[in-house]
């Protein structure tokens, strides 16, 4: 190991949001290794204070463009919990479709546009237009399908307009549902044709076991319902989410961090896969086998592969939901309910992991207090802990390789830093040689 290595990546690229990586090795010892979050805080929890229950999801949707539907779903769930509202089967199915749409958009963007360029040695997806045109075209189509489902069900590609407490203000025509089924069937074929490409990617060899936290509902690979599950301590009631997250501020980040049983925990596709893979759809299970992904998996880089497996599952779920809706007489439902003062917690799985919204309303339905805990904030410390384990293992590699492996690690988590507070330009300063 060289005695002194200093890595300083300012604004990591190909992630959502702004962040920096800092690594400092002095006299052969790792003295500093961290991920700094430098995004401007936007104060959402303060902004929704004093607004009505109708506006809560409209405002919090704007926390993040990529998981806007997820913020809306968590927000609605928190509001409905506070007012004791039970949603109908139709509403559940519509939300399930919205969830499939947002994961498609987000996972495809991450897998094909942000992560794959690293494996083929490209700086972005743009050069791939010349070298791997068919893959790029396929990726654009798959990603767009996510937005199109968002548009058909939610009323707009992002920041849905039709979502509403208790019942959507717009319902799809049968033709739309039929189209969604056809498109998802096609998407499954397209995904299948990508398996050889995914298999050919050489993922870094690395392992570190950590605590995996996700939503949990027995018998279901759940995204929208259920309680919390920790791979260390088992089931935890949704209402007790604060016991899991234990948020704290750290000096080098505008995002809050969390810890539960250990120094850090992981949320996201790999955590969901590790906790719930037994309930994946048969085709998704087969995809996992084809890609060599087995639970429990302790290689954080494989989060990207878990996302791919989830795409197959979500396509199946979407087809199921759309078919069930086709068998129903889908119509606009009553969205009235009695207001009452109360507190409610919404917990949903968004592409990057479990998301909590917690609202307290007065008896007029005005928000008094709120708390939103986003998945990326929950992952930061775990990324840093991965760095700590990884850096000594790769310290003999060239600076370019180290930089790339660190950036790839951050990108594997698919961090969406704009939610919280942005990531990686890596600049290496080696005190014995010149700046690279």
């Amino acid at each position: 190991m060289p005695d002194n290595v200093k890595i300083d990546v300012h604004h990591i690229t190909r992630v959502e949001g702004h962040g920096n990586i800092k690594v400092d090795v002095k006299n052969g010892e790792l003295v500093e290794c961290r991920l700094e979050i430098v995004e401007a805080p936007r104060f959402f929890e303060a902004m929704i204070k004093g607004r009505t229950y109708k506006e809560a999801s409209l405002i919090t949707s704007r926390i993040c463009g990529i998981c806007s539907a997820g913020h809306v779903l968590a927000s609605l769930a928190a509001t409905e919990d506070a007012f004791n509202i039970k949603i109908s089967e139709q509403e559940k199915l519509l939300r399930c479709l919205l969830n499939t749409g947002q994961h498609f958009e987000s996972h495809v963007l991450h897998i094909y546009f942000l992560a794959i360029p690293d494996f083929v040695g490209a700086k972005s997806v743009l050069p791939l237009v010349n070298t791997h045109k068919d893959v790029v075209v396929q990726a654009i189509k798959l990603k767009k399908l996510g937005h199109e489902i968002g548009d058909m069900i939610g009323g707009r590609l992002i920041h849905p307009t039709a979502t509403n407490v208790k019942a959507m203000t717009m319902v799809p025509e049968p033709g739309v549902l039929e189209e969604i089924i056809v498109r998802l069937e096609d998407a499954k074929q397209e995904l299948k044709s990508s398996i050889p490409l995914l298999k050919s990617l050489k993922l870094p060899d690395y392992e570190r076991e950590t605590e995996y936290i996700s939503l949990y509902k027995k018998g279901e690979y759940t995204f929208l319902e259920g309680d919390i599950y920790s791979s260390d301590s088992g089931e935890i009631s949704r209402k007790d989410y604060l016991d899991v997250t234990n948020e704290y501020l750290c000096d080098h980040s505008t995002a809050k961090r969390t810890k539960h049983k250990r120094e850090s925990y992981m949320v996201g596709a790999l955590a969901r896969f590790n906790n719930n893979s037994q309930w994946l759809s048969p085709d998704a299970k087969q995809t996992a086998v084809d890609l060599g992904l087995k639970a429990p998996c302790y290689n954080s880089y494989l989060n990207t592969v878990a996302q791919f497996v989830e795409l197959v599952h979500l396509a199946d779920e979407g087809i199921k939901a759309a078919s069930a809706l086709l068998n129903k007489d889908v119509k606009l439902e009553d969205d009235s309910f009695p207001l009452k003062a109360g507190q409610g917690v919404g917990a949903v799985e968004v592409p990057r992991g479990i998301l909590f919204h917690d609202y307290t309303y007065d008896d007029k339905g005005i928000l008094q207090r709120s708390n939103c805990i986003i998945p990326t904030g929950q992952n930061f410390q775990n990324i840093e802990n991965d760095f700590r384990k990884l850096v000594p293992e790769i310290i003999d590699k060239s600076q370019d390789e180290i930089r790339l492996l660190l950036e790839m690690m951050v990108r594997a988590y698919d961090p969406c830093i704009s939610c919280s507070a942005h990531i990686l330009d890596i600049e290496f300063i080696n005190s014995r040689s010149t700046t690279v």
């Binding site: 604004h11 690229t13 190909r14 992630v15 959502e16 949001g17 995004e39 401007a40 805080p41 936007r42 104060f43 959402f44 929890e45 303060a46 902004m47 204070k49 506006e55 409209l58 405002i59 704007r62 926390i63 993040c64 463009g65 990529i66 806007s68 958009e105 963007l109 546009f113 942000l114 700086k123 972005s124 997806v125 743009l126 237009v129 790029v136 075209v137 654009i140 189509k141 990603k143 767009k144 937005h147 009323g155 707009r156 590609l157 992002i158 920041h159 307009t161 039709a162 509403n164 959507m168 203000t169 717009m170 501020l249 505008t254 606009l332 704009s418 507070a421 942005h422």
Partner: protein, 251 residues
């Protein structure tokens, strides 16, 4: 002739406008890439260039430390575009301006309220000269392509300057005022095909007001339906805190 260099930059935002910009069908995306060279897009590209023909700025300015970065981009760009509501009107980020700084800092970071720098949220045009804007939260993908093409050809961006009501009526919607709700449609700039009222909601003003909003007419509509002007101004708060016209006449 070299293709014009287009770059994306983001400040305080949800990055949804950048996402919407790339929501194109493969042919459309390849078509756009034939006309322009995307040189900076931190979210999707790892390379950086020095000068830009068109800089698309997403997000609002919420920290003084972001001002020099924005000024530097301005100095390196021929045409600078406020891209999306956050940049154009201050957007949802300006909602915090209705609260005292100490209050919102304390609400979000109770243990250490002064830890992170923050100032009054500003639209991009309040900090540097802006040559064009693309409205909406999020922007509309096809409108984005149209405006970028306009700019590449040196034309004035082609954006409607009539109200959302015009599109709403064309869509044959029942006006939400008839349903006892209120809507900012009469003074808000069309171009979204009256998205929200058409999907069972109401317009909350994400595209900003038309050039000459007729607030008196809006007041009359509100009165006709027994709604108070305050109810409407309250709605304006969501996306239009920086709009002097609205908040001057509102009182």
């Amino acid at each position: 002739m070299a293709k014009p260099k287009v770059a994306f930059f983001d400040f305080a935002s949800c990055e949804g406008c950048q996402l919407s910009a790339i929501d194109l069908a493969p042919e459309q995306m390849l078509d756009l890439l034939n006309v322009v060279d995307i040189v900076e897009f931190r979210e999707a590209i790892s390379e950086k260039a020095a000068k830009y023909d068109i800089a698309l700025i997403e997000g609002s300015i919420t920290r003084d430390c972001d001002v020099p970065r924005l000024q530097d981009i301005r100095n390196r760009s021929k045409v600078l575009v406020a891209f999306g509501a956050c940049a154009h009107t201050g957007g949802i980020n300006a909602l915090k301006n209705f609260q005292k700084k100490e209050d919102y800092q304390k609400a979000v970071y109770p243990t250490d309220p002064l830890k992170y720098e923050t100032t009054v949220t500003r639209a991009i045009s309040e900090v540097v000269q802006v040559d064009a804007f693309i409205p909406g939260c999020p922007i509309n993908t096809m409108e984005f392509v149209r405006i970028v093409k306009n700019l590449v050809l040196g034309k004035r961006p082609d954006i409607p300057d009539y109200s959302v009501c015009v599109e709403c009526k064309k869509n044959e919607n029942i006006c939400v005022y008839e349903k006892g709700m209120h809507c900012l449609g009469p003074v808000i700039r069309a171009g979204c095909d009256a998205k929200c009222p058409s999907n069972g909601g109401y317009c909350y003003g994400c595209r900003g007001t038309v050039t000459k909003p007729n607030l008196h007419a809006q007041k009359d509509v509100m009165q006709k339906y027994n709604l108070t002007f305050d109810q409407m101004t309250d709605q304006f708060k969501l996306f239009l805190q920086r709009n002097r016209e609205v908040f001057k006449n509102a009182g």
